[in-house]
């Protein structure tokens, strides 16, 4: 049993590529060994921007034997009456390269057939491994890759060396112009000399550690965190938490050293987000805050080399940041010279989307849709502010600061709005209309941001679908999924009982000047279908999918209402009497469907012949009366529990009464009764979609 160690030494691989490549190496090596029938122990990858390594412990010295069976024609066709092989058998034997006498007979699900069994003897690991490792390296995929010199092979950046050792013995592996060996190299500047490896993972990790390379990304990440915390403490504060930046920095360096620095205090007048963005996006510095979370004029940079005198590097870091902050201040002062309101016109010169027009068109439509939504919610008083927020929402796209830092869109608009002395709600609305960012991002603080955000996303979704673009597969180039998820989160968070169909109609009205790729009605249907798809996907993560289907089938125009029905249904489903109830309602719904629409009549008590019929009507009237107030308050658990009390009467009815009676008047009357029962829950859920079965012993024969 011997360990396999592979290291690909490369010029600096982009930080974002490293974890993806390591994951692939680990997965691919394990699979390649399994496929090659080479037993092995733990498979683990480790790496830095300058090396991608993977090892497998205890690789078996030899492949397992492979046994393959090939099946030919049925025995009945393979031999004639005298037991001699037929043409079919001869052909099969020939195709398998064996003598016809070597054919065996094997029982298969399709009867007895002739067959050939082959045992492929396992080869020695060292014979199999070189090609396996070559495929492993050549199979690595990067988001972007390049050719290095003369050859055609591509990699994230040029490969400079390869280590491939099996039980300490070198395997001959080639990638492009590079041939493998058994030496690696340490830190580019601190330990550039060749280091001979034994091939043991422990030896590899330890020797690199001595050579200023922390090769295990988990250990290196922890070290980055420690270094940053230590340097931030030395700077008199703590580092502002930023896991994304820790991840990135971890894969920018082989040996992290935290170095604290400082900038001129007057820069703290700038919005904190600006200072943080300057440090983070351009320089990969960590911001430092005081005990109360307030930004300090300090930062922490993570050096890639443990430099002789940190003061030298620190001086450089500070110089760069000073120039950056001077730029930011310039943008900030310039931006303030023009009011947001005076920037609206400039939006007309920015294209939003070729077929949907300019950013100004977009904001005008957002204003129209957002005010319609406010009215639909009975929030007339908000309309003026909603329009104001919508018209200003995108104006910061024309500022120098957002040009420099796109991630500050909305945030800068809010700053400038406050500086201009606008109402706080307006400023918050400008910032919040971008919320939520992603499926877990923060939500708007008030109605203004929520309504304008809804309008923005409706315009995006309806507009983009309207001009004929689609989200396909995993790709979502126009952000349609994000828009739909945003709409749903906003509606649910704010508890807005809005009609989706009406909102889509309003958006289509606002889009009146745009040439649609399809009829309005078709666009609306596609949009609602798309939203339904998102709802199904999202809710199925929380609830059984049959319940989600049942609720969606009863309508999702009011998403908040649909959600309440779903929660109620899930609650009621947990009760022991749910199964008979569901079965009874399924039957009601099925009979309804079978009879079709026009068969049912208004229920005429005079035509009720049976005791069970009369009892059902009486119970029905009671439940209908009781349910009114529950429905008004959307108290769906109560509605369902209330409707459930009807179950014995329904069951009795099905036992005693034949719905599809010969006599047309009786039949119509009974169907009418069924229709009334069905309408009790038709707008709550479609019970036919629910999977509910009685335990086998209790199953009753079907009537």
């Amino acid at each position: 049993m011997a360990d396999l160690l592979v290291e690909i030494g490369a010029e600096e691989i982009p930080a974002g590529f490293v974890p993806v490549a390591l994951e692939q190496l680990e997965r691919d090596l394990a699979k390649a060994l399994d496929d090659a029938r080479l037993g092995h122990g733990e498979v683990k990858a480790a790496g830095t921007p300058r090396r991608l390594a993977v090892w497998a412990r205890d690789v078996a010295p030899k492949q397992g034997d492979a046994r393959t069976e090939a099946f030919g024609p049925p025995v009945t066709q393979a031999f004639d009456a005298e037991g001699k092989p037929t043409q079919a058998a001869l052909g099969f034997a020939k195709s398998q390269g064996v003598d016809v006498a070597a054919l065996e007979r094997k029982q298969t699900p399709k009867g007895e057939r002739v067959a050939v069994t082959r045992i492929e003897k396992g080869r020695k690991a060292e014979q199999v491994l070189p090609a396996l490792v070559e495929r492993l390296i050549a199979g690595l995929r990067f988001r972007k890759s390049m050719r290095s010199r003369h050859d055609d092979v591509t990699f994230a950046r040029p490969v400079r060396w390869i280590v491939a050792l099996h039980g300490g013995r070198p395997l001959k592996v080639r990638f492009g112009e590079v041939v493998s060996g058994s030496v690696t190299y340490g830190h580019r500047f601190k330990a550039p000399k060749a280091i001979r490896l034994t091939g043991k993972p422990e030896d590899y990790v330890a020797k690199l550690q001595k050579a200023f390379v922390v090769v295990d990304p988990v250990a290196r990440r922890a070290l980055v965190e420690r270094e940053v915390a230590k340097a931030a403490k030395a700077a008199g504060g703590r580092a502002l938490e930023n896991p994304g930046l820790v991840d990135e920095v971890t894969n920018l360096v082989e040996f992290p050293t935290g170095i604290p620095g400082e900038f001129e205090k007057q820069n703290l007048d700038l919005p904190a987000e600006v200072v943080i963005s300057e440090m983070r996006s351009h320089q990969r510095y960590f911001a430092v805050v005081d005990g109360a979370g307030k930004l300090k004029n300090r930062f922490v940079a993570v050096a890639g080399t443990p430099v002789k005198d940190p003061k030298v590097a620190r001086h450089g870091y500070e110089r760069v940041l000073r120039a950056r902050l001077a730029d930011a201040r310039f943008f900030f002062e310039e931006d303030k010279k023009r009011k947001l309101r005076d920037r609206i016109e400039a939006l007309g010169r920015r294209t939003y989307q070729a077929k949907l027009g300019s950013e100004l068109d977009r904001t005008n439509r957002m204003a129209a849709v957002a005010s319609a939504l406010a009215r639909a919610l009975g929030k007339e008083a908000l309309v003026a502010d909603v329009v104001e927020v919508a018209r200003l929402a995108k104006t910061d796209l024309t500022t120098g600061m957002v040009g420099e830092f796109p991630e500050l869109q909305g945030i800068m608009g809010a700053h400038y709005a406050r500086i201009e002395g606008m109402k706080l709600e307006i400023a918050d609305g400008i910032e919040d209309h971008y919320r939520p960012v992603g499926a877990t991002g923060e939500l708007p603080r008030g109605d203004l941001g929520a309504l304008v955000g809804l309008a923005d996303r409706l315009h995006q979704l309806v507009g983009i679908v309207g001009v004929g673009e689609k989200a396909t597969g995993a790709a979502d180039p126009f952000g349609l999924r994000r828009a739909a998820i945003g709409i749903l989160r906003l509606l649910l968070d704010r508890g807005y009982h809005l009609s989706l169909a009406a909102a889509v109609e309003e958006t289509l009205n606002a889009l009146a000047g745009v040439k649609l790729a399809q009829d309005r009605a078709v666009v609306a249907e596609q949009v609602l279908d798309f939203v339904r798809g998102r709802l199904r996907a999202q809710w199925s993560e929380e609830f059984p999918s049959d319940l989600v289907e049942a609720v969606l089938a009863a309508g999702f125009d009011d998403v908040v209402d649909a959600r309440q029905r779903l929660e109620a249904l899930a609650e009621v489903k947990a009760r022991p009497d749910f199964v008979p109830l569901a079965l009874a309602f399924k039957r009601v719904a099925n009979i309804q469907e079978k009879a079709g629409g026009p068969g049912a009549a208004r229920v005429d008590p005079a035509l009720l012949r049976d005791e069970a019929e009369r009892r059902l009507l009486a119970e029905l009237e009671r439940v209908e009366a009781e349910a009114v107030s529950f429905r008004q308050h959307r108290n769906y658990p109560a509605v369902l529990k209330n409707v459930a009390t009807l179950e014995p009467a329904v069951a009795q009815f099905f036992d005693d009464v034949l719905v599809m009676a010969e006599e047309p008047a009786l039949r119509a009357n009974r169907l009418g009764l069924m229709r009334r029962v069905a309408s009790l829950f038709a707008d709550v859920a479609d019970f036919r979609k629910i999977q509910a079965e009685l335990p086998p012993q209790a199953q009753q024969p079907q009537a």
Binding site: E12, R147, S148, H150, G304, D309, A323, R349
Partner: protein, 309 residues
């Protein structure tokens, strides 16, 4: 280290690595990449190692000499190594040592940067090289130029001379850089910044520039037709500069912008094609004699395949 000493040190370093010391091109370019010593020479199979200072004009970057970091014209030190040697990074780091940047004293990093020039139909992958957080070099492995694969791959090293000088002299304003003892950058170039910014943003005549663009474009096409790719490329560069002037003047709308870039790219592509054909006709004289015949055959096959499409 004076500004001119920085240039001298880099030149002698790269000269000692057997680079041809060339000069900046004698007409307006936005970057050293546009110099035919890079853009055309990276094409085809021939080796090419060159170093030169390129005065690079970017009309939209002018700040009337008022911004300490931004200039209408800055100086790039450009190095092309084709094919790039396997230890190209180490050689590059040696050049930093030569100008006094010791990697054990400074935090040197190679930070991902993908380079693309839409006007040249060129792209490559590489890094920004950071010294203590400041970008000092753009380092690119050319993959394509003029829409053609760069094969063998050329490494392009572009040093930002003003930034490096500011860092080495520890000054915060580019105009305070000492060019030579007793003469500052201000004395050499400040007035140039003022006048060129005034021209780019206010005084240029868009109507004339639009006219020039069309004239240069027509001339470039005519010369391509005459199989004179080198003078044709001069007119392609003139188009590019006319476009940059119009762009700085705000005379080109966002939607028109892409179309103008596309027109320059089309010219650059035709020049590249013409240049490749002419090198093939010459038999790729920079290749070792033993490799020429095979290279010519391969180029012909590639050309015929292209033409068949």
């Amino acid at each position: 280290m004076y500004f001119q000493d920085l240039i001298l040190k880099l030149q002698s370093y790269w000269a000692s690595r057997n680079c041809i010391l060339a000069q900046g091109y004698d007409q307006e370019v936005g970057a050293g990449t546009m110099n035919p010593a890079t853009y055309l020479r990276v094409l085809g199979p021939e080796p090419w190692n060159v170093a030169y200072v390129e005065p690079s004009r970017r009309p939209a970057d002018g700040r009337f000499g008022e911004n300490p970091n931004r200039l209408y014209q800055h100086h790039q030190f450009q190095v092309i190594l084709k094919p790039n040697p396997p230890d190209v990074q180490e050689i590059y780091l040696g050049s930093l040592k030569a100008i006094g940047i010791d990697p054990l004293e400074h935090d040197l990093r190679f930070v991902e940067d993908d380079w693309e020039s839409p006007t040249l139909g060129a792209w490559g992958l590489g890094w920004e090289v950071w010294c203590d957080g400041m970008e000092i070099t753009q380092y690119t492995y050319f993959q394509q130029a003029g829409g053609f694969e760069v094969r063998p791959v050329a490494a392009e090293l572009t040093y930002g001379l003003e930034r490096i000088a500011m860092y080495l002299q520890d000054v915060e304003n580019v105009f305070d850089v000492e060019w030579v003892k007793g003469v500052k950058y201000r004395e050499v170039f400040h007035r140039n910044e003022v006048e060129m910014s005034e021209y780019s943003f206010r005084a240029s005549d868009p109507k004339m520039l639009f006219g020039l663009f069309d004239t240069y474009e027509a001339e470039c096409k005519r010369l391509i037709g005459l199989k004179l790719p080198l003078p044709a490329y001069d007119y392609c560069l003139k188009c590019s500069h006319a476009f940059n002037n119009l762009d700085a003047r705000g005379a080109i709308s966002v939607t028109e912008r892409a179309a103008y870039i596309g027109r320059v790219r089309a010219l650059a592509h035709e020049c590249a094609k013409g240049y490749l054909d002419s090198r093939e006709t010459l038999g790729f004289p920079l290749l070792p004699a033993a490799q020429r015949k095979k290279a010519v055959e391969a180029a012909r096959a590639a050309r015929e395949a292209r033409e068949a499409r």
